[in-house]
């Protein structure tokens, strides 16, 4: 059994919010995804991925900003990991 991993970055912490960025890693070897290979996300929202059979296994926590760094921006905030097994 091999794992495919889909990572979706959403607009808010809600799983039904819009997909802003994405990554796909294919343990089956059937595809060879890489950086900058698509301009269109595979799904419009996180829930749409669930409806297509992807299983959510990790979501980013809601962590308050560190004092003094409230206006800093860094990594994308709302990261959701999904898997399919083949």
């Amino acid at each position: 059994m091999k794992q495919q991993v889909l990572v979706l970055y959403l607009n808010t912490s809600a799983l039904d919010s819009e997909v802003l960025a994405w990554a796909f890693y294919d343990g089956t070897g059937k595809t060879d995804p890489t950086t900058g290979d698509s301009d269109l996300p595979p799904y419009d929202t996180g829930v749409e991925a669930l409806r297509d059979g992807w299983r959510l296994f990790q979501a980013s926590q809601l962590i308050p900003p560190y004092p003094g760094h409230e206006y800093d921006t860094s990594f994308m905030k709302h990261e959701f990991f999904f898997e399919k097994l083949e």
Binding site: A21, A23, T34, T35, D37
Partner: protein
Amino acid sequence: MATTAPLLTSVEVARFVAHGFHRMDAVVPDELNAQAIGVFDAGVPEVPYGTPVKRAFEEGSFARRLLDVPEVAGALRSLVGPDPTVDHHAVHVREPHEGSAQPLHGDAIIDTRMDAFDVQLMYYPQEVTGTMGGTLSVPGSHLRRTNESDTGRYQNLRGQTRLTCPPGTVVLLHHGIWHGGRRNDSDVRRYMFKIRFNPTVPQVRLWDTADLDDPRVPQELSRFFPWCEHATGRLEVYNRIRLWRAMTGDASFDIDYWATRVANRPGRAA
């Protein structure tokens, strides 16, 4: 550098502050483009870090002639000022069918300067088509505080730029922008020449400021990008306000009260 070079306008510099790049299509003459790949294959001599441009690239050299193209000279002067130093330069080649892309990254190391920035020139001597692995970049990502390739997990973002361009195109990048060379799925070697510049003067009102009060300035600085979370997008505008204040010397500049509101503490000492 040519002294008659056209400077950028305030609207163009505001667009740079929001997007993190300034793009100039086909500004380099065909004569130079035709020589470029031969020069790059022969090797561009290395220069020590921090060498003034005029010492780094002697009069008549390919790099000097590239920097003397009026549009290039004017844009560089508008962003980093007169007499910048050369941090380093490199010829980047994406080989045909090379297998994978670079991970998305920012160059050098995390760089938190809010009142100064380096500029990276990227020059493309040949036409770059969609399959040639033109540079991927993420407009508006340059103020995010991330270190080098820690962003490598991100493969694609809404509104990303997968560069295609005519020969002779030059893009000037803020040092922090997320970018990477894409996989070259064509049969053609793809060349890009990069030079990183360090300013030697305060980066304050270096451009043509005649249009400083143009309403398109705050419009440009207020731009939201499709890949950016809505809430974080507001912080991006706040951080651009801070940078614009530094670049104009106007500590009261604001857009929609974002910076003023959160600094209002009547009767309290700083």
